[in-house]
């Protein structure tokens, strides 16, 4: 038995109690590995393995109902690069994300500035202003489709009663559905910008604004010279985050606008390739392309954040 303490026996005295042997100490790295293990299992199982599987699938011609799964190398990527449908879808996605984010930001800042003013029932108005973000996408899609329905919707009623005789366009038709989708998306997601900007506005030192006011700066000047620079970090974050979110948006696009070519963003094209055409390999390739693009966005986002934090320090 190994002990750390020597045992001494002296005549005339009772032997000292023997201390229990100490178990060997586990090395420091063991505890480190043990603590990291749950996260590692989670990351590997939920993120790394699916992505690796997706990458593997993208190099095959796998089909949902056929037993084949042949390696095609980068053939799926080459097919994608040569596909007009892919480029059109990419263009639709970029336009959709850019437009909706730009409008969300502009509108969100204006609404946040208004919400920042002191007025009666401000809390209630704020609650109403952020409500669209709390409504499930399926409800938003259905409600907006009812509102815009060309025969019996609120929109058609307004056109008929406010501008009698006016030509009523069908806002759900292929010609207008993209515009309607942008409007609905902006309506639904602008509150996210409002909340974020409002939170930042509440941290701006009012004494600076008061000093500028005393120095004769008008509202416009105060906005450009003080408020906007203070908001710029949060706006930059919002641009990057919202662009990523809108770039990958599936639910509201699918539920409100369907799968027509005019609204067929990359997530919809992926969905249609996998579940419509049953081409798992080609669908996985599209998913990998989207993943690659998101990695680029995320890298830009993280680097920007890192640079910002360094500047702050």
């Amino acid at each position: 038995m190994l002990t750390d303490t020597p045992v001494r026996a002296e005549a005339g005295t009772s032997p000292p109690p023997v201390k229990p042997a100490r178990k060997p100490r586990m090395p420091q790295w063991f505890w480190g590995v043990l603590l990291v293990l749950p996260s590692a299992v989670l990351v590997i199982g939920v993120i790394a393995v699916p992505i690796a599987y997706l990458a593997r699938l993208s190099l095959t011609d796998a089909h949902a109902y056929l037993p084949r799964i042949n390696d095609v190398g980068l053939g799926n990527f080459a097919d994608l690069a040569a596909s007009p449908q892919f480029w059109q879808s990419l263009r639709t996605t970029v336009v959709y994300a850019t437009l909706t984010v730009a409008i969300q930001l502009a509108l969100g800042v204006v609404v946040a500035l208004l919400m920042h003013q002191k007025f009666r029932a401000r809390g209630l108005v704020r609650l109403i202003a952020i409500a669209p973000y709390m409504i499930p996408a399926i409800i938003v899609a259905l409600v907006w489709r009812w509102l815009l329905e060309p025969n019996n919707g609120a929109y058609s009623w307004i056109v008929r009663n406010v501008i009698p005789g006016a030509d009523q366009v069908n806002l759900l038709s292929p010609t207008w559905i993209f515009v309607s989708l942008v409007v609905v998306s902006v309506w639904m997601y602008t509150p996210f910008v409002v909340i974020s900007v409002l939170a930042r506005l509440q941290t701006i030192d009012l004494s600076i604004i008061e000093a500028a006011t005393v120095d004769g700066a008008g509202p416009w000047r105060r906005f450009w010279a003080i408020i906007l620079p203070e908001l710029s970090p949060v706006l930059l974050t919002l641009v990057l985050l919202r662009f990523m979110f809108m770039f990958t948006k599936f639910d509201i696009v699918y539920l409100f606008a369907g799968t027509g070519q005019e609204v067929r963003t990359l997530p919809l094209l992926t969905f249609q390739t996998i579940f419509g055409e049953s081409r798992l390999g080609a669908g996985a390739t599209l998913a990998m392309v989207m993943f690659g693009l998101l990695v680029i966005f995320t890298t830009v986002y993280l680097r920007t954040m890192h640079r910002r934090s360094e500047e702050t320090e």
């Binding site: 590995v33 025969n151 069908n170 292929p174 559905i177 369907g258 027509g260 070519q261 419509g276």
Partner: protein, 456 residues
Amino acid sequence: MRSKARLVTTLAIASVAALTACSGGSSGGDDGGDGTATINLWHTESTPITVEAMQAIIDEYEAANPGVEIIQETVGWGDLQVKFQAALAAGDLPEITHVEPMFVRTLYGQDLLLPLDEVVESLDGDYLPQLQEMFELEDGHSYGIVHAWGTDTTTYRADLYANAPDAGTPADVTTWEESIEQWTAVAEANPGVSPLLLAGSAAHNVNEEVYLWLGSNGGTLFDEDGHVTIDTPQMIEVLEYWKELKDSGLLSPQWSSAAYADSLSGLANGDAATIYSFGRAVYTFQEQAPDLVPGEDIQVYGPRPIGPSGDDWITQLDAEPFVVFKDSPDADATVDFLKFFYEHDNYLSWIGTVPTQLLPVMPSMFEDPEWQALPEVQNWDFWIDVQREALDSGRAYPLMVTSPEEMQLPYLSDLYGSGILVDMVMEVVESGGDPAEAAATAQQRADELLSPQYQD
């Protein structure tokens, strides 16, 4: 160092074990030979009374067969393929499901289906032969059994057509040219009314109308070798006809955007004079236009106008079958349940829920006093008669089938789900594209999609 390696190995094994545990297994039946069974049943008849009818049948079966549990799940048509693919990939298929007829051949090709001859035989010959032939595949066995059927009909507001007495009714029209003349007269006599509206949005109706108009114009979607044929003169004529209907205002501006229910409402409230629809539409008419008299104000006609290159018309046969998956450990119990389902009283309770849409697969049922006593059957018997005539004519084909041989092709569903035909039609009808160019583009896309599956 060795202990470190041992520990890492242990952790790796634990991780794999954890992941394996998380991956789960089949949740299908678990008949261990002890008489217990769990049957998962997916179907697409989500009308509450139909679901209740199925549950009543299930309850009765379970009471008579202790240890058997049947779980029904309704799945919308739009979701079925997504759900089915996920289940297939996970190895977690239900025991029974409804499928589109075009899927039966696809699933059979993958050796997934159980022959249902025993169920068909249990009907003792009282099974419409047209339905039986659809799913009797090359090995001579039946791999699907139809739960109910119906055909697409030209449904029209006779009261609106009557405002243009010289125009006649759809029954007086034989050709596309005549249809345009008639609808022009109907439009002039009924300002603000669209002579024609298609049911559902473009994603729904384009595939249906393309194959029906093509088949009524002497064309087929596939040639004798099973190769897709889109850039044909017959298809180009379909596109030109469609475009003419749209550009002349005869086709409702909402033809591509209205939800299915809204398009039925369009006929009920007089926004449209004609729509192609199935028998379920009677409920919309009863609810939203109770003053319209069935058979007088609302009438139906089976044949469709024929295109310039066609000799005869085709219409859609809606006849989804039950299929059973052979790998289910509870396949025997499943077959037994299906036989129970088709017993007279049980089956009558199922089709009696929507009797104008769910027509019986048993010819004898049409003469059954209990079935004939159903209120919808009494009020809308003319609609049922038209559907029976369409089936008897041999001109009613399942979705995406323009000739009977195409039922043998395993890739109809790929073309259906691809959106290629939808894009082609939208390019021509909504974007003003050239029909020949749009057809050529669609042909190229379809070739790329389907040629890897060609047999030659």
